[in-house]
């Protein structure tokens, strides 16, 4: 029994023990083991990144600095360890461990560069880690087995070589001509391109600077290199004088190049003249706000200045005077809104030149007048007016009652009288008369004569009747010029109030015998007059019944103008035409003079000042001035490189004694002289027409037409040009290279010339580099060579291994700069790991 009891108690204890054990087994896993998020590895990376080797208060690192093992004190500890990782791993480990020694943590931590453990502070190896957290960072310029520092270079073109132009007008004469041109700096080049009529000498600041032949034509310029006279130039204002007998310049420019800084000027200097002041010019009203003019004159004759079509000055001087025309005076005459941002013609000349000079060209003028029945208004009673349609005069036909013409023929007579007075007002001129109806009978004709009385008597005898044979009148007029001197200006005024209904069988037919096209016959006669007899034919449509189409064609083929008149203004119209004919004794833009006369002087310091609403900063960087000659007499093209910005552009026109009538850019009209009137003789003629930047595209076409009247527009000169300035990308950078040395470069230009330059200028090594069509060679490991090569590629616009010839050699100044210690592009990953 005792044995059995013991068994029971032992069993109870055993069971109780098992239960306790079971409870403990269940309860123990429930004890808390808190998660311990830490930022210690991120903090360590930040410490390494933010602390510079030059800053750290650490004995060992200071010793490395003192020993020269650490050179760049601006490096972070992280970068310095990286450099040591490449150059000396013992230093890397020592430095990293030194940093970790400041860290008091119970976590395992280690620093890896790529896959290599550099330093650690740990109690268990990472191979046994259950959890690993990693902080990463990339450091550039470090890679095991490579250099830690390199070189970069920048090559660029200096733009301190400036180009300055003085543009002469479309016509500048007649006499000794001068120009004022200013610069601040050192002049490096000068040349002249002008179309001129006479051989001439050049004086720069009163110093003789050569004798030169005239150009071959007034629309074909010649170029003159005056670089050998650069010593005659001076800083500031310079006067270049062209001395030649009755010299005139029909377009051209002076171009100088200098080193210095260009400043934008608001003054446009006028060409100086000593002789007969006769200037046709223009100026660009960029951002126009105010205008002022200073005329330095010495002229006993009245001089006029016309801007656009407004005369703002007309006076003579008492000796040498400087006349200032203020903005207030000009703005009271000219509406600036009408001329803003345009090229505006300006005209400076001698008023009433025919009186000043001995004589202009004499004029022989024929008035060809319609005397058909329609010129008679038989309107005193209703049906009488039908008489004129029966080709009879009033009151004489059996079907008409008696009556007289009340309107039409009377005004025609008065107009012819005014015309006779006007033309004969200047001695040496002659007037002839040719009336016509269904023929041009001699009874209605008066030969060329200076006899005012006789001529007016003939006019008074004219009656209106019959049909309309315009060609008869023109043919009669042509025959009347048979005795006219070839030196004389020949002008014919053809007036008609209706449709031509009698034709001519030939140009000697005065009878209206042809049954063909009467209108075409009249046009043909006008063509004959101009083309074979040199007679300018103007046409006047009188009244609403005039056949304008025919009359306009007559004027066009006769190289004249068409005028529309009526009862109320026909007399004034004839007076106006007679004045224009006298004014036209200026032959085109040329003034003719003979005999002795006192010269008038316009000094070259005269100017127009254009106040602008806003000014632009002078462009910086490489400024290139490009001259592109036209492809033909009609048009030229120019292209803007993709990495260039346009600064300014002008189309220059060698129009000779004619006017630049129209200028177009890419189909957009940018200049139209007819905007200022149809009487071109009163208008200026710009040589340089500014091209609005906003219309310039990558590829551009410029067209220019010239004219003497609105009816005879023709092409211009094949020697026209587009002159434009661009601001071009002019710098290049090398990649990071292990060396920076330089080279002696041989460079070929588009014109096949070569230059050899040392880059940098101080280079005295033996390396040879080439940028020529035959060879392209350089060392890509040399930062200077690579930068220079890339720059030359930029300047090789057409990629033909030649530097484009448009770039003057003087513009090329290659100045590289070097920067040491540029990190290479390769990189290394740094990891800081913690684990447990």
């Amino acid at each position: 029994m005792k044995t059995k009891k013991a068994i029971f108690f032992s069993g109870d204890a055993l069971i109780a023990l098992m239960i306790i054990m079971l409870v403990l087994i269940i309860a123990v896993p429930r004890t808390y083991n808190p998660s311990t998020r830490t930022s210690i590895h991120s903090d360590t990376m930040k410490v390494l990144s933010n602390l510079k080797v030059g800053e750290i208060d650490n004995t060992q690192i200071k010793a490395l600095i003192a020993s020269g093992d650490i050179e760049d004190l601006n490096k972070s500890i992280l970068e310095q360890i990286g450099e040591f990782y490449v150059t000396d791993k013992n230093f890397a480990r020592a430095t990293a461990n030194e940093i970790l020694s400041y860290l008091d943590t119970d976590r395992n931590i280690g620093i890896w560069y790529e896959k290599e453990l550099i330093a650690s502070k740990n109690s268990t190896p990472i191979e046994n880690a259950r959890n690993i957290e990693v902080e990463r960072q990339i450091i550039s310029g470090i890679q095991e087995g490579n250099e830690t520092t390199g070189y970069s270079a920048r090559a660029y073109l200096s733009s301190d070589v400036q180009t300055e132009y003085f543009y002469f007008g479309g016509y500048v004469g007649d006499g000794n001509i001068s120009a004022n041109i200013e610069y601040e700096g050192n002049i490096t080049g000068a040349r002249i391109e002008i179309a001129t009529n006479k051989n001439f000498s050049v004086y720069i600041n009163n110093n003789y600077s050569g004798y030169y032949e005239s150009s071959t034509s007034n629309i074909i310029p010649a170029q003159y290199d005056i670089s050998s006279y650069l010593s005659n130039f001076q800083n500031g204002s310079n006067t270049i004088e062209f001395v030649g007998e009755e010299m005139r310049i029909t377009g051209g420019y002076i171009r100088i190049e200098y080193t210095g800084f260009a400043e934008e000027t608001t003054k446009q200097y006028l060409p100086g003249i000593s002789g007969l002041i006769n200037i046709y010019d223009g100026f660009y009203t960029k951002n126009l706000q105010t205008l002022a003019v200073s005329l330095h004159l010495d002229s006993p004759y009245e001089i006029f200045l016309t801007i656009g079509n407004k005369t703002i000055f007309e006076n003579s001087t008492s000796g040498e005077e400087t006349i200032t025309i203020t903005n207030a005076e000009i703005s009271s005459i000219i509406n600036y809104n009408e001329i803003a941002n345009k090229t505006v013609p300006i005209r400076i000349g001698i008023s009433n030149a025919s009186y000043v000079i001995n004589e202009t060209r004499y004029v022989d003028a024929f008035s060809v007048t319609d005397l058909s029945g329609s010129m008679c208004d038989c309107s005193q009673s209703g049906w009488f007016s039908t008489c004129k349609y029966n080709e009879e005069r009033c009151g004489t036909h059996w079907s008409c009652s008696s009556g007289v013409c009340t309107e039409g023929i009377n005004e025609a007579r008065e107009a012819n009288d005014a015309f006779i007075d006007g033309i004969l007002n200047a001695s040496g001129n002659q007037v002839g008369l040719a009336g016509y109806e269904y023929n041009a009978d001699l009874t209605e004709y008066h030969q060329l004569s200076t006899d005012n009385v006789s001529l007016k008597a003939e006019v008074a005898s004219w009656l209106a009747y019959g049909g309309t044979c315009i060609c008869c009148g023109i043919n009669r007029g042509i025959s009347g010029f048979s005795g006219s001197s070839s030196e004389k200006m020949k002008v014919m005024i053809v007036m008609s109030d209706g449709a031509a209904n009698y034709g001519c069988s030939n140009f000697n037919d005065f009878t209206g015998s042809s049954s063909g096209s009467a209108a075409q016959d009249a046009i043909d006669s006008a063509c004959e007059a101009y083309q074979n007899h040199g007679i300018t034919v103007h046409a006047i449509g009188f009244g609403s019944g005039a056949e304008e189409t025919t009359l306009q064609a007559i004027a066009a083929c006769g190289n004249g103008s068409y005028y529309a008149g009526n009862i109320s203004n026909i007399v004034a119209l004839y007076q106006q035409i007679s004045e224009e004919i006298l004014n036209a004794s200026y032959y085109e833009q040329t003034i003719s003079a003979s005999g002795s006369f006192a010269p008038a002087i316009l000094y070259p310091d005269s100017y127009i000042e254009i106040g602008q609403t806003s000014s632009e900063e002078p462009p910086r960087g490489l400024i290139l001035t490009v001259e592109e000659q036209f492809d033909n007499a009609s048009a030229g093209t120019f292209d803007i490189p993709s990495d260039a910005a346009i600064i300014s552009a002008e189309a220059i026109s060698y129009s000779g004694p004619r006017w630049t009538a129209e200028t177009w850019l890419n189909g957009n009209n940018i200049y139209q002289i007819s905007d200022y009137g149809s009487k071109y003789i009163d208008l200026g003629d710009p040589y340089a027409i500014s091209i609005p930047k906003t219309l310039i595209q990558t590829n551009n076409t410029v067209e220019i037409k010239t004219a003497t009247t609105s009816m005879n527009t023709t092409e211009g000169s094949a020697y026209n040009k587009i002159i434009y300035k661009i601001q071009k990308n002019s710098s290049s950078y090398s990649t990071i290279c292990p060396i920076i040395d330089g080279c002696s470069w041989t460079i070929e230009f588009e014109d096949n010339t070569n230059i050899t330059i040392d880059v940098p200028a101080t280079y005295n090594g033996s390396a040879k580099c080439y940028y020529t069509s035959a060879s392209q060679s350089y060392d890509p490991n040399d930062a200077l060579q690579e930068a220079t090569y890339k720059l030359l590629q930029i300047l090789d616009l057409d990629s033909n291994n030649k530097i484009d010839s448009k770039f003057s050699e003087n513009n090329l100044q290659i100045t590289p700069t070097e920067i040491k210690g540029i990190p290479f592009t390769w990189s290394t990953e740094v990891q800081i790991r913690i684990w447990d």
């Binding site: 109870d12 109780a16 269940i26 808390y32 998660s35 930022s39 210690i40 990144s49 602390l51 943590t105």
Partner: protein, 162 residues
Amino acid sequence: MTKKAQAWGTDLAIGFMIFSAAIVFFYFYSFNYTNETEDMLQILTYEGNYIADAIMSSGSPTDWTNETVQEIGIEDDGKINETKFERFFNLTQSDYNKTKTLFQTRYDYYFFLKNESIMGSEGIGKPGTNSTNIQASNLIKVTRFTIYKNKPTTVYLYIFEP
């Protein structure tokens, strides 16, 4: 004999029941106690890291003063700014509870640097506290690494529930 055997069996059954009840009580007591501790430590850990992050920032505004401070932070460019460090110290001296409000915590904290003192004190935090006399039922220690006076420095933050 038979009765005796029954008596032992009943005693055993009763003893087992009493014992089991004690065990069950103990088990649930232990379980609940552990969960409460775990929750508290999680809270302290979260808030400790939050406060440490705040202290190791520039604060708000970045040029904060005692009057303008919205968030306390003592670092600029990854380094302890000694001026801000002093302001933090002064702020705890003058109004410790305000700093707790700014840290958005209701627990106490104590911040100090290894081998460095601030204004003659070992650290910054609950007045009267240092790293060796903290009386707390729950405490979390957060370790960080930064730069002080151009040296890498280990910093500690204790956050605790009294």
